[in-house]
Symmetry: C2
Subunit: 235 residues, 2 copies
């Protein structure tokens, strides 16, 4: 699942492109929008080509595209996040049922780990941490990774860290390249080989309710996410 | 106070520059870091010139610069945000005491309104909403503003919306200018005249633990925030 306490680092953008990328590679994919703000739900709402499931757990989800189903955001009913009334057990049940019919579960989490984020962490096996290639992102990252390791022990093997993904890298802003280098120096293999370049086409695609693969597959943002999909599928 | 459910839109950057800007204008200022992630605390930690208060409520805060004191972040003890054990009453008491000795209270809130964010909303009178000049920022803004109006009624006159501040505006990305225009068209006077241009000097200053006013006062980010300070002080 996609998690990072810092806001606006690319969790949602990465979640929808991983999900759609896996689907385009022939895998069956369930995308969970665990953020009451529902950015992921909005960012794929104009996609087409999905098939309604006739039976089984997938009937609980909406078809988005071929091989791709979405569990919609719980939605923000009020300004304050709900407390502990999220039925994690029901979600865990749904995940177990889905495991029989999908190959991948991609979970978009909110920033800061609130009740929804914590639920999200309990549902998936591995965590991908998108990290914006600039200062504030590094600060708190090592603390967050350490806290996630602690959570992983509590959650008995779930929430293992699959890797750190540098996002919004911008060749015209040399400091972003330095940040990526620092990340690799300090975290070694934990940093994925792929990185995501800053590309306004990604924002544009979201404003059309589609992933870059659907909207602008030639754009460098799409190419970057394509590489990421390959890296994750190759294990 | 600075609030916006969306992450990474410039709440913290705006909070520290408003606070330091007011202080440079001769006002006495208390800056509250209500975000367990503590980005504001980190972003001003290398500033100097502040004076320890000898008595009164200011002794609870740390001196940052002349006229500027900081209530440090509660700090993130673990991955999951604490539940309801924030002593809002003690904070309200502190605020009432501080009101006797400072002219301005600037409060930095976390993204999403968790327990700390909700506490922050109860402490201040007005809310400034920084809005990143791109797609996702607009979506959810009107819902958030409506939700804040509801909260303001519950909080009996607190949390009134002072204005919306467009941030990360970038002349080299024309869509950001369109977003600002849309904001003005849809929200009219609610949108401040000032806006904040994208300026990597702001990130650089934060990495040195200083505001742009201290680190790079000639930079356009500093000039933008200077204008904002004037606009707010002029009421
Ligand atoms: N590589 C990129 N290039 C340009 N813009 C990007 C890129 N990745 C994401 N964005 C944009 O930056 C904004 C924040 O991205 P996104 O919503 O994915 O972050 P997030 O971590 O999910 O945010 P939140 O913490 O609020 O959930 C969005 O408007 C998105 O379209
Ligand atoms: N005008 C700007 N130009 C360039 N970078 C900026 C600008 N404003 C903020 N930033 C950078 O963008 C990142 C996010 O900004 P900031 O931390 O202020 O947002 P935030 O809304 O407080 O985030 P969070 O939701 O995580 O608390 C920071 O690295 C900051 O230095
Ligand atoms: Mg998101
Ligand atoms: Mg912040």
């Amino acid at each position: 699942m996609l998690a990072n306490q810092k806001g606006g680092v690319g969790k949602t953008t990465t979640a929808i492109h991983l999900a759609h990328g896996f689907a385009l590679s022939g895998k069956k994919v369930a995308l969970f929008d665990m953020d009451p703000q529902g950015n992921a739900t909005v960012a794929v709402q104009q996609m087409s080509g999905g098939h309604e499931a006739k039976k089984g757990a997938l009937t609980m989800l909406e078809p988005v595209a071929k091989n791709l189903w979405l569990l919609r955001s719980p939605g923000a009913e009020s300004l304050v996040e709900p407390g502990a009334d999220i039925e994690v057990d029901r979600l865990l049940e749904l995940v177990q049922e889905l495991a029989k019919v999908v190959d991948w579960l991609v979970i978009d989490c909110p920033p800061r780990i609130d009740a929804w984020g914590w639920a999200g962490l309990q549902l998936g096996d591995e965590v991908l941490v998108p990290v914006q290639a600039e200062f504030f992102a590094i600060h708190g990252l090592s603390q967050m990774l350490a806290a996630m390791e602690v959570a992983a022990k509590q959650l008995d093997g779930k929430a293992r860290i699959r890797g750190v993904l540098p996002t919004m890298v911008d060749a015209s802003e040399p400091v972003t390249l330095e940040v990526v280098e620092d990340l690799r120096k300090n975290l070694g293999d934990l940093v994925l080989d792929s990185l995501v370049l800053r590309d306004s086409n990604l924002v544009e695609a979201a404003s059309h309710g589609k992933t870059a693969f659907a909207h602008c597959p030639w754009a460098r943002g799409a190419l970057c996410y394509g590489e990421l999909v390959m890296e994750i599928l190759d294990g």
